[in-house]
Symmetry: C2
Subunit: 330 residues, 2 copies
DNA sequence: CTGTTAGCGCGTTCAG
DNA sequence: CTGAACGCGCTAACAG
C-alpha cells in the first residue's frame, strides 16, 4: 500500500541511499538526482514513514501528556498550551487520561514509554508512585509535584494564591471563612489549604470544622459543600480550591437558597469562561493555565535538547480578580 | 539505555526468538523458559519497543484525533469519549489542533499519516479539501461531513435539533426569532441554519435580517450578537448554533442590559457544565457529545478491524432541555 | 518446543 | 557525488 523510499528510488533510477538522502534532506545529492527523486516522490505520493525513521534515529518526535481528564477545562487549556509550543517544533501530542488514579497513571506511563515518546509532561495523580516515573525519558510535572521525584516541575504559587483569596475575604470583614478542597495528596491542593490555614491562623480565626476536604469530582464537591453549608453555624464565606469545587459550591448554594454574596461570599481558585457569566460574576484567583502548558513544553523541549543539571522548579503567579461574588468593599 | 529482547534473551540463556515469544506472548514456550525469561525481563526492566513492533506488524496501535481546538469544551468531551473507547482496546490518542484552518488541518493529517496511525477521527475544518483525506487509512468524520468525501461520519440530527428550538420559541408566542451562527461552510452549522429557516418559513415568519452569521470564536460571536441586538427592531428571541455563540449572546445581552427572558428569550445549541449555573438557567438543545466521540471510536475500530462496505452515516438525537431562559409557557 | 534466518523502512557508514 | 551493505528492535516463518 504505502510507497517507500525504495519505490521512489527505483522510479527515479537512483539507489535507495540517494533517494533517502534527498527525501530526508541530508547528505549530498546532485541537482539532477534531486529533481528526479522529488518528482517521482510527488508522482507516487510518497509519505515518509516516521516509525521506520524513529527506529533508527531513536526519536519519535512525539511527546506524551498525562492528565486527569481532558474533559476538565483546566487540563484542556494545559493541553492547548503544551500543544502550541511543541507542535511548532514538529512534535505531536500523545494524550492519556489517568482519572486521578495511580494505577491508570502507571499504565498510561508504561504505554507512552513503550511508544518511545521523546518526553512527557504529567499532571501526577494523588498518591502517585515516584517509581513509576523513574526512567530515562525527559519528564516535567505540571500543577503538582510528586514527593521524592526528582524532575522538573511547573506550578503556580498556590499558597500565595490561596492567601490572597482569604485576605480579600478578611478585608471584607468575614471571620468565619470555610474552604472546600479535594484531597491534600494532590500537592497543589495541599499548598492551597496550607495558604488558607496560614492566613487564618495568623488572625486567630482558623476553625478546623470549616475545612471540608473531599474527592475530585463535581459531585463529591457538591456533597462536601452541602455538608458545610447546611449547618446553622455555616461560614459566611467560602474559598474553593479548584474549579470543580467552585461548581459544587454554586450548586449547593442554589439548592439551599443562599444568595451570593449576601448570604455567602465566594472566592474560587482558577478562572473559567463562565465565571463572568454567572450572577454575580465570580471573584477568583486566576491562574495562567495555558501558559502553564506552554512553559512546561519549553522546559520539556530544553531537556529533550539535552539540557542537564538538577531538576528545575518553575512557579507562575496567580492573580486575584475581584468581581461580584463577595459583595462590595465596606 | 533501553534494554532489548536480545538483552533479556542473553540474560535468560535462551535464543532471542524464544524470549520474543514469551515477551510478546505468542507462539510456544516451555514453562521453564517462560519463567526464566520473565524474571530476567523484570530484573533488567525491559520495556517493549512499540516502534520496532509497529514497523513489522504495520500497526501502531495509535489513532489520531484532529479537532478545531481542544480548549473548546465540545472537542474536549469528544476527545474523552473517543479516548475511553479506543484505550480499552489498547490504542492511544494522537492529538492535533487544526484551529478551523484547512492548511493547518492538511499539515496535521500529513503528520498523523507519517506517524502511521491506524485510523483517525477528524472534525473537518470549514472549506476542508476532500483530497487531503484521501488515502488508505480508516477515517471517520465527526460533527460535520466534507462534501465529496466518501467516509464514515457520525453527527447529530442538526436540522431537527434547531427546529425543536425554534418551535419551542414559536410555542411561547415569539414571532421575531433571530439566529447567531458561525460559517455555513461547517456542515453542522449549515444544517442548523437550515432547520431554523425551514420552520420559520413554514410559519411565514422568516426574516433574513434576523440571521447573523459570523466567525467561530467567542469574540466574533459577541460582535455578531451586538449587531443583532442593538437594533431597535431587535428580535425578541434568539437561537444560537453552538456554545461559543451562546457565550457571545449572553455577553452582549448583559452589555445591552437586556434581561433574560423578559427582554430576550434564548435557546442555545449544545449543553455545558455552566448552563444551569447562570441566571436564569439556559434552555438548550443538548447533544450527546461524549457519546459522539464514543460512537466515532466504535466506527473507527470496526474499520480498523477490517469492516468494508460503503461509508456509513450515523446520526444521534438531540434533546431539548427546557430551563429558564425562555420564560414560562403561556 | 526452540534456534536460525529473513525481513519491516529507513539512516548511515564506507568504498568507489 | 553515489551505491552497496549493515543495523535499529522486533515478528515471522521454517527447520530441527
Amino acid at each position: 500500500m504505502a510507497v517507500t523510499v525504495k519505490d521512489v528510488a527505483r522510479a527515479a533510477g537512483v539507489s535507495q541511499a540517494t533517494a533517502a538522502r534527498v527525501l530526508g534532506d541530508y547528505g549530498y545529492a546532485s541537482e539532477g538526482a534531486r529533481r528526479r527523486v522529488e518528482s517521482s516522490a510527488r508522482r507516487l505520493g510518497y509519505t515518509p514513514n516516521h516509525v521506520a525513521r524513529a527506529l533508527v534515529s531513536r526519536a519519535t518526535e512525539t511527546v506524551g501528556l498525562v492528565v486527569g481528564d481532558i474533559d476538565n477545562p483546566f487540563f484542556a487549556a494545559v493541553a492547548r498550551g503544551l500543544s502550541d509550543v511543541v507542535e511548532r517544533r514538529g512534535y505531536t501530542l500523545l494524550l492519556a487520561n489517568a482519572d486521578e488514579d495511580p494505577d491508570r497513571e502507571r499504565r498510561a506511563l508504561r504505554a507512552l514509554r513503550s511508544k518511545r515518546v521523546d518526553g512527557m509532561v504529567v499532571v501526577p495523580a494523588p498518591r502517585a508512585d515516584p517509581a513509576s516515573f523513574a526512567d530515562g525519558t525527559p519528564l516535567v510535572q505540571l500543577d503538582r509535584a510528586v514527593r521524592g521525584l526528582a524532575a522538573d516541575a511547573v506550578m503556580v504559587h498556590n499558597a500565595a494564591g490561596a492567601a490572597s483569596a482569604v485576605e480579600h475575604l478578611l478585608g471584607l470583614g468575614h471571620t468565619r471563612i470555610g474552604i472546600v478542597s479535594d484531597a491534600p495528596q494532590i500537592s497543589s491542593s495541599s499548598e492551597r489549604i496550607a495558604g488558607y490555614r496560614r492566613v487564618l491562623r495568623a488572625h486567630g480565626l482558623l476553625d478546623e470544622s470549616l475545612v471540608s476536604i473531599g474527592g475530585s469530582s463535581r459531585e463529591e464537591a457538591h456533597r462536601a459543600a452541602l455538608g458545610l453549608l447546611e449547618r446553622p453555624d455555616r461560614p459566611t464565606a467560602v474559598f474553593t480550591a479548584n474549579n470543580f469545587m467552585t461548581h459544587g459550591v454554586l450548586l449547593a448554594a442554589r439548592e439551599l437558597r443562599l444568595r451570593i454574596p449576601r448570604d455567602l461570599a465566594l472566592v474560587g481558585f482558577d478562572d473559567l469562561d463562565w465565571t463572568m457569566l454567572v450572577d454575580p460574576p465570580l471573584t477568583v484567583v486566576s491562574q495562567p493555565v495555558t501558559e502553564l502548558g506552554r512553559v512546561a513544553g519549553e522546559r520539556l523541549l530544553a531537556r529533550i535538547d539535552g539540557e542537564t543539571g538538577p531538576p528545575r522548579r518553575v512557579r507562575l503567579d496567580t492573580r486575584l480578580i475581584v468581581r461580584g461574588s463577595c459583595g462590595a468593599m465596606l
